[in-house]
């Protein structure tokens, strides 16, 4: 690997981490679309900042762009508060307006400079290593690396300092307010961090990938864990993995790095969406099938309990009496036998003691809806988990 390759992967990874942190909270606050809005509407801030400083990496430009990001949030909330339109409509009104102002400003004034709409949308990660930061004539690395590195350090410090406040205000705004943690301060703090991160990542990965890096890793992590800290760690790992894997995919395909990273994010989400142990599609389908079988089992056991007559309990009669297909009857019979809930003698089925107990408990549960009684059964049976 050349130095430039290492630098690109390092920048991409730092951008991924910096995005995953606010992204996790945006996903939990159901504000994913706000990141889309911010990433587009900071454009006029960037353009105006660029006109003033003639430097895409100047702190003033980052400040102005972040300010436009906050302005977006304020405008969206203002329009929403009038009660005339809903939040998604407000977002759809605000960010294209601001973005198009940026596009016009670029077209009118910046034809000759290193700032064009393609770069804004998709970023130019491949060129990032060319723009060096020189201190007293000594090359200390690409500017993008230093910018995103500084932003990342600040967000990590803020995350550690205010983790508790972020958690409580995200979960329960009312409680946070009553405890004296102003939800407005935390909200705008998070919006500021999101805006600054977006600006810092913008030059490297562009407006569209910033959104992907904020939302996709967090959404993927959400499917895998029930713990906020772990969700943050997973989101960071997924972001970094996609950044590096995406870089090599681009290398191999000779295609856009930003596009390849986003593709990796999408693929990663798809895999987790399908195969996640609890919330994944396959796990859910399997669970539903199990539940159907277990409801059948319970029906069958109830039938046995209610009928002492031998003809009602004959193996062959079950198909007719409970009106099941042969396969289903066989599955249920086997399941009941495996769990020692029934005994079969001369093709006559009867409940064992265990089967009787289980049936009584199940009936109690259905009648009383008391969770405590079936706590120990939950591990064996899906039926009671829903």
């Amino acid at each position: 690997m050349s130095n430039a390759q290492i630098e690109i992967q390092l920048i991409a990874s730092l951008v991924a981490i910096a995005c995953a942190i606010p992204g996790t909270f945006l996903v939990l606050r159901k504000m994913a679309m706000i990141s889309d809005a911010i990433s587009h509407s900071i454009l006029p801030g960037i353009v105006i900042g660029f006109f003033i400083t003639q430097d895409l990496n100047s702190p003033l430009l980052i400040f102005l762009a972040a300010l436009t990001g906050i302005l977006t949030v304020v405008l969206v909330e203002y329009i929403q508060k009038t009660g005339l339109v809903k939040e998604d409509t407000a977002i759809g009104l605000v960010f294209p307006t601001l973005f198009s102002i940026g596009v016009i400003l670029i077209a009118k004034n910046a034809n000759d400079v290193h700032l064009d709409v393609d770069a804004v949308l998709l970023g130019e990660l491949a060129f990032a290593p060319f723009d060096r930061l020189l201190i007293a004539g000594i090359d200390i690395g690409p500017k993008s690396l230093w910018i995103i590195g500084s932003i990342l350090i600040i967000s990590i410090i803020l995350l550690f300092a205010f983790f508790k406040e972020l958690k409580v205000s995200t979960f329960d705004t009312g409680l946070a307010a009553s405890l004296g943690f102003s939800p407005a301060i935390i909200h705008y703090g998070l919006m500021t961090v999101s805006s600054v991160t977006t600006v810092g990542a913008f030059d490297a990965v562009g407006a569209i990938l910033v959104v992907a890096l904020m939302i996709a890793p967090a959404a993927t992590a959400y499917l895998l864990t029930n713990n906020l800290k772990r969700m943050l760690i997973y989101a960071v790992c997924f972001g970094v993995f996609s950044a590096i894997a995406g870089y090599w995919l681009a290398h191999w395909l000779d295609a856009s790095i930003a596009g390849s990273i986003t593709t990796m994010l999408g693929l990663l989400f798809l895999m987790v969406y399908l195969f996640a142990p609890n919330k994944g599609v396959i796990a859910v389908l399997y669970r539903e099938k199990q539940q159907r079988t277990e409801v059948s089992l319970l029906t069958f056991l109830l039938h046995l309990r209610n009928h002492n007559e031998e003809e009602e309990r004959h193996v062959n009669h079950l198909n007719e009496h409970i009106n099941w297909q042969k396969v289903r009857s066989k599955t249920v019979l086997e399941l009941a036998l495996k769990n020692n809930m029934i005994g079969i003698e001369n093709n006559i089925v009867s409940l064992t003691e265990k089967g009787k107990d289980f049936t009584s408990q199940a009936i109690d549960y259905i009648i009383t809806n008391e969770d405590a009684q079936i706590e120990h059964m939950k591990d064996d049976f899906f039926l009671f988990r829903g």
Partner: protein, 245 residues
């Protein structure tokens, strides 16, 4: 016992988009009562609680807790929001939610430690939810979720408890468990204020009641003012008839 005033509300008016939801409310809640706030949907019951707690800003009027503003008396107050106001799919456990009750006394930045964890476990024990401490909150039943919320308020060890419909969507066992804990709180000299929907249980559960429908209709001891006259004034229908039906 009713000499000290725990909560005092003066000329409180609250509006959403210039439409008043609470109009000129004057209310004194004596220390040590177990009070129900009753009224029809849209009467402003939750709004009243939220305004007292500084979550909503009133357009007129003031609130005091033991004679001082809420901001100064935060540590004396615990709040149980409506169960439906939060996202129960949030990635966290029962214990962690109860721990949130300790955040107020910790203040900004400081993290909860062993002491807070111990307090949270004790509160879980009190509401009978200790076996569920590590369970993800979406895996709890509605009644269990409400108990977690109650435990979170208990851990605040407050003097005044505000609860927004704690009996909504809970099973009978949980309802009894909750009301027993509320009665215990009252016995310990705490003031408990509950937004309540089920008029039938008011005389059994509470000793104080406030009738609210945008304006305050009446407030006082249940045995004195919980009558058909006030019910009719609050609900706008002849309540005597509808109860008998």
């Amino acid at each position: 016992m009713e000499q000290k005033i725990a909560v005092k509300v003066d000329d409180l008016t609250v509006a959403y988009n210039y439409k008043p939801v609470l109009w000129d409310i004057d209310l004194e809640i004596p220390e040590g009562v177990l009070m129900a706030i009753v009224g029809p949907n849209g009467a402003g019951k939750s709004t009243l609680i939220k305004s007292i707690l500084g979550i909503l800003k009133p357009i007129a009027g003031s609130v005091s807790i033991y004679g001082k503003s809420y901001e100064k008396q935060r540590s004396l107050v615990a709040y149980v929001p409506q169960k439906g106001s939060v996202d129960w799919d949030f990635p966290t456990t029962a214990l962690d939610v109860v721990m949130m009750g300790t955040y107020g006394s910790l203040g900004w930045i400081k993290r909860p430690g062993q002491k807070e964890k111990k307090a949270a476990l004790e509160a879980l024990e009190k509401v009978g939810m200790l076996p569920f401490k590590n369970r993800q909150i979406s895996q709890l039943s509605g009644g269990q979720q409400q108990r977690i919320f109650l435990a979170r308020a208990l851990v605040q060890n407050a003097s005044i408890y505000f609860m927004d419909e704690p009996f909504q969507g809970v099973d009978a066992t949980t309802e009894i468990a909750i009301i027993n804990i509320l009665k215990e709180l009252r016995k310990a000299g705490k003031t408990v204020i509950v937004v309540h929907h089920d008029l039938q249980t008011v005389p059994e559960y509470f000793d104080w009641v406030t009738f609210l429908n945008v304006k305050k209709i009446a407030t006082g001891p249940v045995k004195d003012i919980f009558n058909d006259d006030n019910l009719t004034k609050t609900y706008g229908i002849n309540y005597k008839v509808s109860i008998q039906e």
